[in-house]
Subunit: 181 residues, 2 copies
């Protein structure tokens, strides 16, 4: 399959079956994430894999109690949650404030995108969840202040036949040479 086909077929999945995710499947998707680029090859991305049912309940709880945001109830059904973390110690010695303000999110997002693509290529489903209470995750899983939670990725098998959501056409997204005229 050419990459563009994969990129277009991949979509956010909100329905999971009871089929477990195997260790081999998990390793495949984490392996893809590992090869993502990072600023200065600092490799700040870490992955906290949550399979235990009570622990998954605590992950779900971290998405509750946010004003104006509906709790992500669908994630309860996913047999595995991958919490993507940024290890800020990876930037030790880097002078530019861009590392903490920008590259931390860029590097971990590049790894997350690779992970989501590998999930889809492996026939699994996943969704990028960005709304959660950092502190709730920290307390539940003893995450030290040097690690910043940046995303929750519920992963599982799916029978969902939903099509990808529509996207704006390139004509609305691309400029040439200048923003003027």
């Amino acid at each position: 399959m050419r990459f563009n086909e994969l990129a277009q077929q991949r979509r956010s999945i909100h329905h999971f079956t009871d089929e477990p995710v195997t260790d081999e499947e998990l390793e495949t998707v984490l392996e893809a994430a590992r090869w993502a680029p990072s600023a200065g090859n600092a490799q700040p991305t870490r992955f906290l894999v949550i399979s235990d049912e009570l622990n998954r309940e605590m992950v779900w709880e971290s998405t509750t109690g946010i004003e104006g945001v509906t709790p992500q109830n669908f994630i309860k059904k996913a047999p595995v949650h991958i919490i993507v973390l940024a290890d800020t110690r990876a930037y030790k010695g880097k002078q530019s404030s861009l590392f903490m303000e920008r590259f931390l999110f860029q590097d971990t997002s590049a790894a997350t995108m690779n992970l989501l693509l590998a999930v889809s290529d492996t026939g699994l489903g996943a969704c990028w969840v960005g709304m959660f209470r950092d502190e709730a995750l920290r307390e539940s899983f003893n995450i030290p202040t040097t690690l910043k939670p940046v995303a929750i990725i519920p992963v599982g098998h799916t029978e969902s036949k939903e099509k990808p959501r529509p996207r704006k056409p390139l004509t609305e997204l691309v400029y040439h040479e200048s923003l003027s005229g």
Copy 2:
């Protein structure tokens, strides 16, 4: 090719040949970027494509004059520069401050990662350049304050045989159930 093979083969390219990038190649890589996910499907990512030689010189200039950072001279040789922009107007009506602080970078980085993978799949080379002076780009290309430059991606053909830089093993990156113990 399975996705994991592509993810592992892709690498940052710093040497480009004189061969031009065709419109079809450009459309392929932008098309892949267009299908990346975004928070609430807000689709904030925009692309400013720079091919004109004098304009490319100005892109290079934006990477100069940053204390402690070597100018990215290699990008001068790339026939196309894609400046990735975040259109903050896409988040209009979103209450959470997470959109501007986190999702802006996450959404545009997901699109950038898709773009880099499509570049590699198409047989081209590219590099994610994150160190530049925003204001220099704004002035050179009339970028309004509603659009935030987040990355410069030089793209071109390459004969580089460099191998990917080494990555930490998964055993150093993955935790299970908790950070304690």
